[in-house]
Amino acid sequence: MAERSNSEEVKLLGMWASPFSRRIEIALTLKGVSYEFLEQDITNKSSLLLQLNPVNKMIPVLVHNGKPISESLVILEYIDETWRDNPILPQDPYERTMARFWSKFVDEQIYVTAMKVVGKTGKERDAVVEATRDLLMFLEKELVGKDFLGGKSLGFVDIVATLVAFWLMRTEEIVGVKVVPVEKFPEIHRWVKNLLGNDVIKKCIPPEDEHLKYIRARMEKLNIKSA
C-alpha cells in the first residue's frame, strides 16, 4: 500500500449546523477533494481555531498543506482556483462579478436582515419579515427561466444561497412565520426542489430532523417562541 502523500492535506474546521461551514463541504465534495473535518465547539473555541484564525476567531477555516484560509467566500474562491475540476465560478469576468455580487447580497443583506427577527415580536417582527421578503424578491427574479442561480447547473451563488434554502426556510418552520411562502416565491421553492435533486447537496446539508431540533433549541435559548 502506497504511503499517503501529504501534498494534498486538507482539513476543515467547521460546525455541523453552520451554513458557512456546510457551503465549504459542498464545494469540496463537488470537486472530489478529500478532507478531514474537525468539528468545533463555537461556544468554547479551541486553541487550534484561535491559532488558525486569530483575527476573526470563526469557523469555517480551511487548512491546506498547513496553511489556513478563513472567510467562507474567500475559501470558496480558493477551492475553485486550486482544484480545477467542476468549476463553481463561471469563466466570464462579468458573470464572475455577478456571482460575487449575489453571494455578498445573500450574506450581507438577506442573512443580516433575516437575523434581525431574533427577539422581535409584533409590528417590529412584521417589518423585518417585510424587509427580508423585499430582498428575497431579487433572488426570486434571478431564478426566472433558470434551474439554478448558476444557470443550468449548480454554481457559486447556489452554494452560498443554501443559507436561504436550508437555514432561513427551515427556521421559518420553527418560528412559525412564513417568510418565504410559495405563493409569493414560486421560483425559490422550485429552486429548492432542484437543489434537493442534487446528490452532493443532499449529502452535505445538515440532516433535517437533527437540524430542526437544533434550531428549535437555539430559538428557545434566545427566548423566541416556537410554532
Binding site: 467566500l73 474567500v74 475559501i75 482556483e81 469576468p93 462579468y94 455580487f101 455578498k104
Partner: protein, 226 residues
Amino acid sequence: MAQNDTVKLIGSWSSPYSLRARVALHLKSVKYEYLDEPDVLKEKSELLLKSNPIHKKVPVLLHGDLSICESLNVVQYVDEAWPSEPSILPSQPYDRASSRFWAQYIDDKCFAAVDAVVGAKDDEGKMAAAGKLMECLAILEETFQKSSKGLGFFGGETIGYLDIACSALLGPISVIEAFSGVKFLQQETTPGLIQWAERFRAHEAVKPYMPTVEEVVAFAKQKFNV
C-alpha cells in the same frame, strides 16, 4: 464582452471607494469616460440610480451595456476583463486568498471601527471606538510587514489588490485625525503604514485621482457643518 467596448466610470472625487476603481483602471491603461457625482451622498444622478438600483452607490463601472458595482468587485472585474500585465491580484491561489481576506477585513472590521469613531456619542464611546480602530491598524501594520516583505507595497514591489483596498481607509482616517486631534497612523505604532501611505499617494496610478488630506478635511468640515 470585447475589451474595446465603451468604458465609463461613475464615481465621486470624494469617495474612497471610487478611488479604488480609478487606480485599477489606470494600472491597466483602460481608456474610460469618468462621470463625477460631486456630492453623491446628497444627490445622485439618474444614471447612477439606473446603473446601481440596489445599492445606489459609487463606483459603478459601465462596460458596454454591463454595469458592475461595489468597489472591490470593480477592481477584480478590471483585473479579469483586462488580463494584460500588470496583474492586480497575486498569481498564487493562497496569496490571492490572503489578499481577499484582508480586503474583506478592511471593508468589514476597519470601516466599522472608523464609523464607530465618527458616530460615538460621548467621550467614553469615543475612547472605546478609538481603541478598536487602533487595534485594527496595528493588525494591518503587521499584515503590511508580512505581506510587503521589506518592499514598498502590500503587493511587494508594485501596487496590488490589497494596496488598492487599504487605500480607501486613508481619506476617512485623515478626517478623523483632523477632527479629533488624535493620530491613528503614527511612526511609533504604524511605521510601515505611514511610509506606505506616502508612497501610495505619490504613485502615478494614484496621484491624479486621490484628493489631498486638506481637500478631504475641508469637504468633511463642510458636510458636517463644522
